[in-house]
């Protein structure tokens, strides 16, 4: 099997199409799925309506409660829906159906039912997106028992995680970064090439410091690590890929080696997932640490609009570099 270069949007579309060919009970629902747009203006569903028809590529009204609720009902009734809520900001309209129903049904009904669904919701600051189109809410769902949360950083991860999410019997919150939809990467043609949920990847090996991140922030972390080589600082970059469950083994192993940990996240730092990773590592690996664990994340403000303020808000490669140097000094 060869690799093809393609965008994240196309990679996920291929992954979905492969799973739909493999299993006739896989279907997708959401706004604009069968229009010429093919999804949230990024081709995620382009052409799928022609191959799979309107019963399996369901173009829905703007009804987030029902997009999510219907996915839950259809999942307990024996199918595997992929519900697209466009942006994490809009997905808040459907938090009830996701948190009160999808996450709880298996448990509160004593294991009588499973809820095998995927819910796509895009995260990340998109230029000019402002307060309601740029939020990253992964911590909300990591905090919710019953949910699995993934956030890919590369096109290959995007495809492989979508396939694993569809095959999982748990409800999976699939958080893709809006800036990465059109970013390109190498993607396998092999329909059985999956990315295992719960397994992180090492994007760059290093010996001085472990830099843990996910989604677009993993790419910025990698960029930072490459620049830091010039200063003879050897950073190990871990791309978590999966946030719940997260790959503690790999993070522990790396921190045991480097003795230093920085977690970089795009979302609001306060009570973010970085806090959980930092606390966990501090609790469990304290004797291995050469210095305090550090975090970098967004300030606790809404995402501003004007470029000056938006840049002030963003976690950038430069800021990551600064933080690493602080830790190394």
């Amino acid at each position: 099997m060869t690799n093809n270069k393609m965008t994240h949007a196309s990679a996920v579309r291929e992954g979905l199409a492969e799973e739909m060919r493999r299993d006739p009970l896989v279907w997708a629902l959401g706004e604009d799925l069968s229009t010429a747009h093919g999804g949230t203006s990024a081709d995620q569903y382009r052409g799928l309506i022609d191959e799979f028809g309107e019963k399996r590529i369901v173009n829905t009204p703007i009804s987030e409660n029902t997009i999510m609720g219907a996915a839950v009902g259809a999942a307990v009734a024996g199918t595997r829906p992929v519900a697209d809520l466009r942006m994490a900001d809009f997905a808040m309209c459907a938090v009830d159906e996701l948190v009160n129903q999808a996450a709880k049904i298996r448990y509160m009904f004593g294991g009588q039912a499973r809820v095998p669904l995927v819910v796509r919701q895009a995260i990340g600051v998109r230029k000019g997106g402002a307060a309601q189109h740029s939020q990253s809410t992964e911590a909300w769902y990591i905090h919710t028992p019953g949910l699995v949360v993934v956030a890919p950083a590369t096109a290959a991860d995007a495809k492989g995680l979508m396939k694993s999410a569809i095959r999982a019997d748990d409800p999976v919150v699939y958080m893709e970064h809006k800036d990465l939809w059109m970013a390109e990467g190498e993607v396998s043609e092999d329909p059985e090439e999956l990315v295992e949920i719960g397994k992180a990847s090492i994007m760059k090996s290093g010996s001085d410091l472990t830099l843990v991140s996910w989604s677009k922030m993993a790419l910025l972390s990698l960029e930072a690590a490459k620049i830091l080589e010039v200063d003879n600082i050897s950073v190990e970059v871990i791309n978590l890929r999966s946030l719940w469950p997260w790959d503690k083994d790999l993070v522990y192993k790396s921190v045991s080696k480097t003795g230093r940990l920085l977690v970089a996240q795009e979302s609001v730092q306060v009570a973010g997932f970085g806090a959980e990773i930092s606390a966990d590592v501090t609790e469990n690996l304290n004797d291995q640490l050469k210095t305090h664990v550090r975090r970098i994340g967004a300030p606790r403000t809404p995402v501003p609009y004007a470029e000056t303020m938006e840049n002030e808000y963003r976690v950038t490669t430069e800021r990551i570099i600064e933080k690493v140097k602080e830790l190394m000094s």
């Binding site: 009970l25 279907w27 019963k55 399996r56 369901v58 829905t60 009204p61 009804s63 409660n65 029902t66 999510m68 609720g69 219907a70 996915a71 839950v72 009902g73 259809a74 999942a75 307990v76 009734a77 024996g78 199918t79 829906p81 009830d96 159906e97 009160n100 129903q101 049904i105 298996r106 448990y107 509160m108 009904f109 004593g110 294991g111 009588q112 039912a113 028992p145 019953g146 949910l147 699995v148 999982a168 019997d169 748990d170 949920i197 719960g198 719940w244 469950p245 966990d280």
Partner: protein, 333 residues
């Protein structure tokens, strides 16, 4: 009460009377258990509304699905759930319908197509349309019935789900049980417009009104609508007028209710109405009394069995959360 021109109709009414009595017995004995401190949570009783769930489910097959709300005991029994397992669930014991993990508000029995009572109003509607979509995708010849109350017609997802059911022409019956109270508020005082039927009709959905205390009438209209749904005519809406004889929950003192209101409704309650019909149609009083005493006997035994059942092991707290990232036993992760 109306009667169908069918020779075996009295038998059908007797069967439905049995179910209604079983529900009534369950609710009354569950309240006794609650008062005795045996129920860990609260219970929402279906007393006075038994005819609706009973008659709708009498027209459903085992392979059909129902979705219920917080007042779900009657729907579960009518769809065929085991009252003993339900009583164990109320008492939080081993052998409960959800193994003691859900309680009264989360009674479910997937083996009979009862996809769950629910603690959040209107979620049965959105999940119900999804279940109907799954039936279509799986090419199953089955339908979905969703039970909601009058209060739910003021939640947004009610409208989303009705619209959704119409645009995809789904095999689903919406049953609005109008018991006049939304928690402790008289629904009429917080609801604009002419009512649920008009609201459903706004979507172009065929909608009907029925005396929900008349089991024969509900049976007749539900039978007609369900047949239409089975034959591919899309969603239908049934508004059944009734009265919640008890409070919102079992410990509700009903201070908001005008004096004498409950008593005035007792003459119209569905079991009494059904009994009158049966006597007028030649069914012997003794036969009716026997049904009643058998039902109470069965539920008393269910309560005894529940009291004697062990509590679930505390380690079960950690099971059935999720496959990936399941919590460690006793840990915080």
């Amino acid at each position: 009460m109306k009667a169908k021109n069918s020779t075996n109709y009295p038998d059908r009414i007797l069967e439905m009377y049995k179910t209604m009595t079983l529900i009534r017995a369950f609710e009354e004995i569950a309240e006794e258990a609650f008062d005795a401190g045996l129920v860990n949570g609260s219970i929402h009783q279906y007393i006075g509304e038994e005819a609706i769930g009973t008659a709708v489910c009498a027209n459903l097959k085992r392979s059909d699905y129902i979705l219920s709300n917080h007042r779900g005991h009657g729907h579960a029994i009518a769809k065929g759930a085991d009252p003993e397992a339900m009583m164990k669930e109320l008492l939080g014991r081993e052998g409960g319908t959800s193994g003691g993990k859900g309680g009264s508000m989360h009674i479910a029995d997937f083996s009979v197509g009862m996809l769950g009572a629910n603690g959040v109003l209107a979620d049965g509607l959105t999940m119900g349309v999804g279940a109907a979509q799954a039936l279509v995708l799986r090419e199953e010849n089955a339908i979905v019935a969703v039970f909601v109350g009058d209060g739910t017609t003021n939640r947004g997802p009610f409208y989303e789900a009705l619209n959704w059911a119409m645009i995809y022409k789904l095999p689903i019956l919406f049953v609005c049980e109008n018991n006049t109270y939304a928690s402790s508020t008289a629904t009429q005082t917080v609801t604009a417009g002419p009512g649920p039927v008009a609201r459903a009709e706004a979507f172009g959905m065929p909608a009907f009104d029925v005396d929900g205390n008349d089991v024969c009438a509900v049976d007749e209209i539900a039978g007609t609508l369900i047949e239409k749904i089975r034959n591919g005519h899309g969603p239908h809406f049934l508004h059944a007028r009734t009265y919640r004889i008890k409070g919102h929950i079992s410990r509700d003192k009903m201070l908001y209710r005008p004096e004498g209101e409950t008593e005035a409704h007792l003459v119209n309650e569905p079991l009494l109405k059904c009994k009158d019909w049966m006597i007028k149609n030649g069914i012997k009083q003794k036969e009716i009394d026997d049904i009643s005493s058998m039902a109470y006997e069965q539920i008393k035994e269910a309560l005894e069995a529940a009291k004697n059942a062990p509590f679930p092991d505390k380690t079960l707290t950690y099971t059935d959360v999720q496959d990936l990232g399941n919590p460690y036993l006793g840990g915080s992760s």
